[in-house]
């Protein structure tokens, strides 16, 4: 088994910026007046992840379990290098693709094809690669002629199908998913599931955060239970879900 992701003593503090400490005027004033005001403008920090030590190996399908705010999403953002650790080291061997927010960066004024191209570029594909993929993506969305219409004319269901198809065009070694289960008609949900499974098959490592134990059980083989930013349990998926249910 080869290590794909390895975290050593990783902690992450997230600074919380509010009213006064995002103002340069107040910052400068607090330097000038010193003392009490300076104390007030100190940035408050939330310890989002504490002392995480974990290795994720090839073939692991990892489920993240935990309450809201336990650190699941933050952990995913750390793996995807959106956040950088406050202390500790992270080693990632392989290219990462993420699926956190399906509708990200969709432009209502542009048509379906243009949206596919823009999103593909943002995911790091080259333009000719994307153009080659378009027929397959359009086929998946079942939008037909609508693909050439501005997407502001789409219904919610159509938007979801397009967004989902666009979000799943890249296949990479490491796949990070966060609450990807959306609404849609039943036949599309089956297709969506099949497509996700395809992506998972193609990846070396998959990490999934979800509140649906049923989905986690179906898709994962390893479970991590988070509490207050720490991993308190790490085992196979069935034991982890049992632990999670019994302790909460």
């Amino acid at each position: 088994m080869s290590k794909i992701i390895s975290l050593k003593n990783v902690s992450l503090d997230i600074p919380i910026y509010d009213g006064s400490n995002i103002s340069i005027k107040k910052q400068l004033l607090s330097y000038a007046t010193g003392g009490r005001l300076a104390m007030e403008s100190k940035v408050c920090r939330v310890q989002a992840l504490k002392n995480i030590n974990i290795d994720i190996n090839k073939g692991d399908r990892v489920a993240l379990l935990g309450h809201n705010g336990a650190g699941k999403s933050t952990f995913l953002k750390l793996l995807s290098t959106i956040y950088h650790p406050t202390s500790g080291t992270i080693n990632i061997n392989g290219e990462v693709s993420t699926l956190f927010e399906v509708g990200l960066g969709m432009d209502p004024e542009m048509n379906g094809i243009d949206n596919i191209i823009t999103r593909g570029l943002l995911y790091g594909l080259k333009k000719n690669q994307i153009v080659a993929m378009i027929p397959e993506v359009v086929d998946f969305t079942e939008l037909g002629e609508f693909i050439n219409f501005p997407i502001r004319t789409y219904s919610n269901g159509m938007l979801l199908r397009l967004a989902f198809a666009i979000s799943t065009i890249v296949k990479r070694d490491i796949l990070l998913l966060d609450e990807i289960i959306g609404a849609g008609d039943a036949s599309f949900m089956n297709k969506a599931e099949a497509r996700i499974n395809e992506l998972v098959e193609a990846s070396d490592v998959m990490v999934l955060a979800s509140h649906s134990n049923e989905i986690l059980k179906k898709m994962c083989n390893r479970g991590l239970v988070f509490r207050h930013g720490e991993i308190i349990f790490d085992s196979n998926i069935d034991e982890s879900i049992d632990f999670y249910i019994n302790h909460y």
Binding site: S23, I82, Y83, H84, T98, E109, T118, L121, G124
Partner: protein, 260 residues
């Protein structure tokens, strides 16, 4: 693995991303209009001709001297101003991307500069008309103004890289940037002739980077020559600018996703 230098270089390489984002920004604005992006040209043309008529009277300068000077100055100032003020918000405006997907950060200032370069290209149509109208002599030396655009673009990229970091951390800074640019407009010889200030308060021109960048662009097209003082100022400014940007970006890079 993912550090600030890597981010910058990879962003440059992903020119397909920022050029597309910049171009679709323009399309979005003018998609449902008949003449498309040439609305930009038209509104700038109206702006320039009205100011041209009024101020050539006020300054008592003949139109054929004043209008080309004003047109080039204003067109380039619009480029400068938009690059700086929009560039300063590059990270804040793209917070949704920065927080939701692994993405190169420096593509956002590049997007802003590319978008405004397209606007500049559209506005240059006005100068072509003026050049024909007033029979302005275009020589090989005029090509230096293209070099001027490139030198400014490189500089404004580093400048907005620092500014957008600061503006992401301190949200009221953008208002200050707007005010500074407003004052800079009046302190830069665009509406008025630079000779009017010669000999008195030279420092307004000598230490005004915007003046030197406008000169780099405007002088070659008006048949003048770029002064040695401008070349040396711009060289020193560029080096200084790059050092500051490298330091600021290095410090900020890993914190930007918390700031936005």
């Amino acid at each position: 693995m993912s550090n600030y230098r890597n981010d910058f270089i990879m962003s440059l390489k992903e020119y397909q991303v920022w050029s597309r984002l910049g171009w679709t920004d323009i399309l979005k604005k003018y998609r449902r209009s008949f003449i498309g992006p040439f609305w930009l040209t038209l509104s700038t043309a109206i702006y320039i001709s009205s100011i041209g008529v009024i101020f050539s009277e006020i300054f008592n300068t003949p139109m054929q001297d004043y209008l080309p000077y004003l047109a080039l100055g204003l067109i380039f100032w619009m480029f400068i101003n938009q690059c700086v003020t929009e560039g300063a918000e590059a990270f804040i405006n793209n917070a949704h991307y920065i927080k939701q997907m692994p993405i190169k950060l420096a593509i956002f200032p590049m997007q802003v500069i590319w978008r405004n370069f397209i606007v500049l290209a559209h506005n240059m149509v006005i100068f072509v008309f003026i050049a024909i109208l007033f029979d302005i002599n275009i020589t090989w030396y005029s090509l230096w103004s293209i070099v001027g655009i490139i030198i400014f673009s490189v500089n404004v990229l580093f400048l907005t890289l620092s500014l957008s970091c600061f503006c992401a951390r301190f949200r009221d800074l953008h208002q200050i940037v707007l005010s500074i640019m407003q004052i800079a407009f009046f302190a830069t010889p665009i509406m008025w002739n630079k000779t009017a200030l010669l000999g008195q308060r030279d420092y307004v021109l000598d230490y005004n980077p915007f003046f030197h960048f406008v000169e780099l662009f405007r002088e070659p097209l008006l048949g003048g020559h770029i002064a040695l003082s401008t070349v040396s100022f711009v060289s020193i400014f560029t080096v200084f600018n790059m050092i500051v940007a490298a330091a600021v970006y290095k410090y900020s890079f890993k914190k930007i996703s918390f700031w936005v």
